[in-house]
Amino acid sequence: MAPGGRAVREFFLSPTHAWRAFIGDPSEGLSAIWEGFLTNIWMFIVCEVLVLIFGLAIAVVRMSSSPILTPLRFLSTVYTDFFRGIPVILVLFAVGYGVPGMDLGWISQQSPTVYACISLTITYSAYVAEVYRAGINSVATNQLVAARAIGLRQGATMRYVVLPQAVRNVIPPLLNDFISLQKDTALVSTLGIVDATQAAHIYGSLNFNFAGYTVASLLFLLLTIPMTRLTDRLINRDRVKRLAFIS
């Protein structure tokens, strides 16, 4: 054990501190980490659903060949380039402090959680749109030809033939992005939202002890590990299937 081992253990792993941080104590100004974690969970769920929808819309627009959609196609390309390149935290600052500061009536009067969700959705939609796009590209051309050959229009071809296969092909990378999204919900603390990490931070600075961070880490692991395992299983299943196909 390192010379400072005992101090470090007390600082990060003290069960007493961990428990106090977990349950919180308003009379001491302490938010409960479990309560903060509920914020992480629901933000993650709401954002995930929104990201799936917007990401898909952006990918489909970007992949469309209709000349009417050319301006939108251009916009969606700019959008994905832009938001994939900017750190989430800067988007959070811009939306979370910029929009309310602009005095745009009700748009500027939303709660920080709304702005946080918008920021995460904007950023992750750009990532996920690219994943979808890779998925759409992975669908064999002969599938498109077969669909057009039975008279399906472009929209129906996309909806009933291309997308179902595309989504299946990209489930593992999609889940990967969702694991990052789960973790990035911790960044919403920049907007003053007391999530699990911010509650741990409060505990840490009022008690000079970081056991709360350990608690928050464990809670995040409880959320992300099942997701990681599921991703692994899907990747594996896919691999087995492909091997079977080759032999």
Binding site: V145, A146, I150, P164
Partner: protein, 243 residues
């Protein structure tokens, strides 16, 4: 039903079809022979408007398919095509593969197209496999489903592009038997194939495509027994003798 007039098709600098002229009558079966690369597939794809021709005209039921005002998707609902590689939709089971077109392209009610699809599956001998997915079927079974999928659209004419070429030899028979049945029922078909015996038995007329030119079109018997063109004689001498 379909008239091809002087059809030309180029890919980049390479001319694939050199002025093909051919007419297909209702209930007629025409087999299209030719070596690989002679332009058979391209010709079928052009008729289905999957490829656009560069010169000439294609008339379908009295109307030019080159007219800009025609609805391509609508035309395809009347002209079915089956591919060498089946191209079934792997994410849909057999029944859904067949009903997708009628339901989503023709907008027909689900219960109606499903009962028709089941009937079709019965006819092709796969009545019990409606819930299976394509990768659970043999190549021959998949190709039969692909044919059923095209038939479910109730097309006026069916184009078949070497539908047995990708199959294990032991599975070819079941697909050709199905095509023979369809011919007997009066289905109008243009069949690109390498199966000489089948062509002789089933086709009303046989055509030979050689390097993008249609060198001979003749009634089946005449085509095989007394070909008039030297290219036909040459072609027939190079393929394994039938019978």
């Amino acid at each position: 039903m379909i008239e091809l007039h002087n059809v030309h098709k180029q890919f980049d600098q390479r001319t694939v079809l050199h002025g093909v002229t051919l007419e297909l009558q209702p209930h007629e079966v025409v087999c299209l022979l030719g070596t690989s690369g002679s332009g058979k597939s391209t010709l079928l794809r052009c008729i289905n408007l999957l490829d656009r021709i560069d010169q000439g005209d294609i008339i379908f039921q009295g109307q030019s398919l080159l007219d800009d005002r025609i609805d391509v998707d609508l035309v395809r609902r009347h002209i079915g095509i089956v591919f060498q590689a089946f191209n079934l939709f792997p994410h849909l089971n057999v029944l859904d593969n067949i009903t997708l077109g009628p339901q989503r392209a023709l907008g027909r009610p689900k219960h109606e197209v499903e009962s028709e699809a089941r009937e079709l599956l019965g006819r092709i001998g796969l009545g019990t496999r409606s819930g299976d997915y394509p990768d659970q079927l043999s190549g021959g079974q998949q190709q039969r489903v692909a044919i059923a999928r095209a038939l479910a659209m109730q097309p006026d004419v069916l184009l078949l592009d070497e539908v047995t070429s990708a199959l294990d030899p032991t599975l070819v028979g079941e697909v050709l038997d199905l095509l023979s049945d369809l011919a007997l029922q009066g289905t109008t078909m243009l069949i690109a194939t390498h199966e000489m015996q089948f062509a002789r038995d089933v086709a009303h007329r046989v055509a030979l495509l050689d390097a993008g030119r249609l060198v001979e079109v003749a009634p089946a018997q005449q085509f095989f027994d007394s070909p008039s063109q030297p290219e036909t004689v040459d072609f027939l001498s190079r393929v394994p003798k039938t019978q």
